[in-house]
Amino acid sequence: MSNTSFVRVSDLYKIYQMGNQEVRALDGVSLELQEGSFNVIMGPSGSGKSTLLYLVGGLDWPTSGQIEVDGQRIELMDENQLAQYRREKLGFIFQSFNLVSSMSAEANVAFPLRFSGVKKAKRLKRAVSLLERMGLKERIGHKPTELSGGQQQRVAVSRALVNNPSLILADEPTGNLDTTSGTIIMDLLKELREEGKTILVATHDPRMLQYATNAIFLIDGKEVTEENYKKTIQQQG
């Protein structure tokens, strides 16, 4: 089983020192994600979901522990290697979409390919075909402010896919969306998983569990079993 692990996290700690107080955002987490799996991290607010996602994505450095993705040790990489890793292997989706507000949908989707040195014509062709797939053919030239939240998130998904990544990291992708738009995004993620991509989603949304091949429950920076998780949630009301 460990042979096919695409992501392997061991003994991961992220500790923030706030004055004389210690915040353990991640308190010794170990995980293995299979290639082509749909992984959902559930947990209450402040449990460390985003922190875990960002560390796997190489957007931050752990206090200690190891992160291995596709055989590469992320926590040992320098900034250039991390940039290359994100450029080639990763697609990020955020709760707040994080589109560049001055750019059209098309330009936003094509943006990552600028940093990989892809020629303009090729970039735009790829962006347009992804937006078509997301049902946004008519919205190619629209700025983010001219799009609904659901449409913006589909633009963001297109952008995450433009470099054909093997790992998709999504931080509450449905958090700002209504039920229908949320479902569309979840269906899209399922489709991507079926194409062989590995998915890691952090969410509050229990509906996401229906799509998951693997669920991870976090409380106070620690992984817990589903039963313990449910118990804790109920106790907290």
Partner: protein, 431 residues
């Protein structure tokens, strides 16, 4: 990232904040315009100062005269001690490295009286050994600069040389007409040892009037060199042997102003007196070089203030776009990419401001020049005053735009480095 993509991204980014870019660039525009205007004014003042002081702009000429021994008390004057400029010496000068030509100047050795109508004047006759007196660096305002026998070329101030000997008090003085093309009567005068004077009459046709040069040429009259020799031999009453007497006044012309000082030194070492405006001009040049540096410095201070403006704008822009920086990092931008983008924007503001500043500076110089020449025109056209004139040296616009760009680059450096080295997750979480 491709360079062309980088440039287009920078242009897009500047384009979406037009208002702020414009306001920031205005600081650079003013600074650059100040540099361009002040340096150009400095260059203009320098030019007019040098040309005022040395009527002729001919910096490649050396005036050579015979060398006299240093006088010491009790020393008896000995003709043999005079270092004379004989034809052999002329040949020696001609053989020196860097000499273009040697012009022998001569003048009348007796008296002369000019007459035109009722008006009389004194002659101040000169001649040169070359056919065209243009070689001295002077030009004709009317007519020619080549003078044949029976002809004369007058300096620009010739009218001041004439007067009416029968002028009655209270009567309007007679005006001398323009003598160009007219013929004047000349009396060459010599005296013998008893003081008896003999007169030799000649008629000279005025074939040229010289342009004003604010030098001794304005008061000179040029006749043909052979005619001069004849008159002088008549005055001396014998043939003149220049290999014994030497010439009084010789102009050694160098191929370029660069070698003049060195040539003058060599001639002085041979025992002759050599005078060149070069040394003085060099002194003036270095004075104006300092003035230009001071002027440029004032402009540079203005640019420095503009630089602070750019730094401020970039810092603000980077704060506002912190999230965007996080996004760019998340989608694979390297620190160098981010650095290049923000540095490029800062340099772009400097570049645009620089171009605007050069245009504004150029416009100011044009206005200054227009005002300067209209003031001059209303001043009666005497032209002897210092002309307020801005000259934009060719290197200045290029240098100014480059300098403004570098100013932008430097002021953007610190904010851009900050942007580039942000931790991605912090940038993404920034509200």
């Amino acid at each position: 990232m491709r360079f062309s993509d980088l440039i287009s991204l920078i242009i897009d980014n500047l384009g979406r904040r037009k208002g702020r870019v414009l306001l920031t660039a205005i600081g650079v525009v003013i600074g650059t315009a100040a540099v361009v205007t002040l340096v150009s004014l400095g260059a203009g003042l320098q030019k007019s100062a040098t040309s005022n002081l040395w009527g002729i702009n001919d910096l490649s000429s050396i005036q050579v005269s015979p060398g006299y021994p240093k006088y010491e008390p009790g020393m008896s004057f000995n003709e043999a001690d005079i270092k004379k400029i004989t034809p052999a010496v002329i040949e020696q000068f001609k053989g020196m490295k860097g000499v273009k030509q040697v012009i022998i100047k001569d003048n009348i050795r007796g008296g002369s009286l000019l007459k035109y109508g009722k008006m009389e004047g004194w002659g101040n006759f000169n001649s040169v050994s070359v056919p065209d007196i243009k070689d001295l660096g002077i030009e004709a305002a009317q007519g020619v600069t080549v003078v044949e026998k029976g002809q004369v070329i007058l300096g620009s101030q010739y009218k001041n040389n004439f007067y009416d000997p029968n002028q009655k008090p209270g009567k309007e003085p007679e005006q001398l007409p323009d003598l160009f093309g007219k013929t004047i009567d000349v009396q060459f005068i010599k005296w013998d040892n008893e003081g008896n004077q003999t007169i030799r009459r000649a008629k000279l046709e005025v074939v040229g009037i010289l342009k004003e040069s604010r030098s001794e040429h304005d008061w000179s009259m040029y006749i043909n060199n052979d005619e001069m020799l004849k008159v002088n031999e008549w005055i001396a009453g014998k043939r003149i042997d220049f290999s014994k007497e030497g010439y009084n006044n010789v102009v050694v012309q160098a191929i370029s102003p660069d070698v003049v000082v060195e040539l003058a030194k060599q001639i002085t070492e041979l025992g002759f007196q050599a005078y060149t405006p070069q040394e003085a001009v060099e002194g003036i040049n270095s004075f104006f070089a300092i003035m230009q540096i001071v002027f440029g410095g004032v402009g540079a201070i203005a640019l420095l203030v503009a630089a602070i403006g750019i730094a401020n704008t970039m810092t603000m822009a980077i704060l506002e776009r912190t999230r965007e920086i996080g996004i760019m990092k998340a989608i694979g931008a390297t620190n160098n990419n981010i650095l290049a983008i923000f540095l490029g924007e800062a340099a772009g503001i400097g570049f645009l401001g620089g171009i605007g500043g050069v245009l504004l500076g150029w416009a100011i110089c044009a206005v200054v020049n227009a005002l300067g020449s209209s003031l001059l025109a209303s001043g009666g056209g005497g032209g002897a005053g210092t002309q307020l004139n801005a000259i934009i040296p060719l290197w200045l616009p290029i240098f100014s735009v480059a300098f403004a760009t570098v100013v932008g680059l430097i002021s953007g450096l610190f904010p851009s480095l900050n942007a580039a080295t942000m931790v991605p997750v912090d940038a993404l979480k920034y509200e």
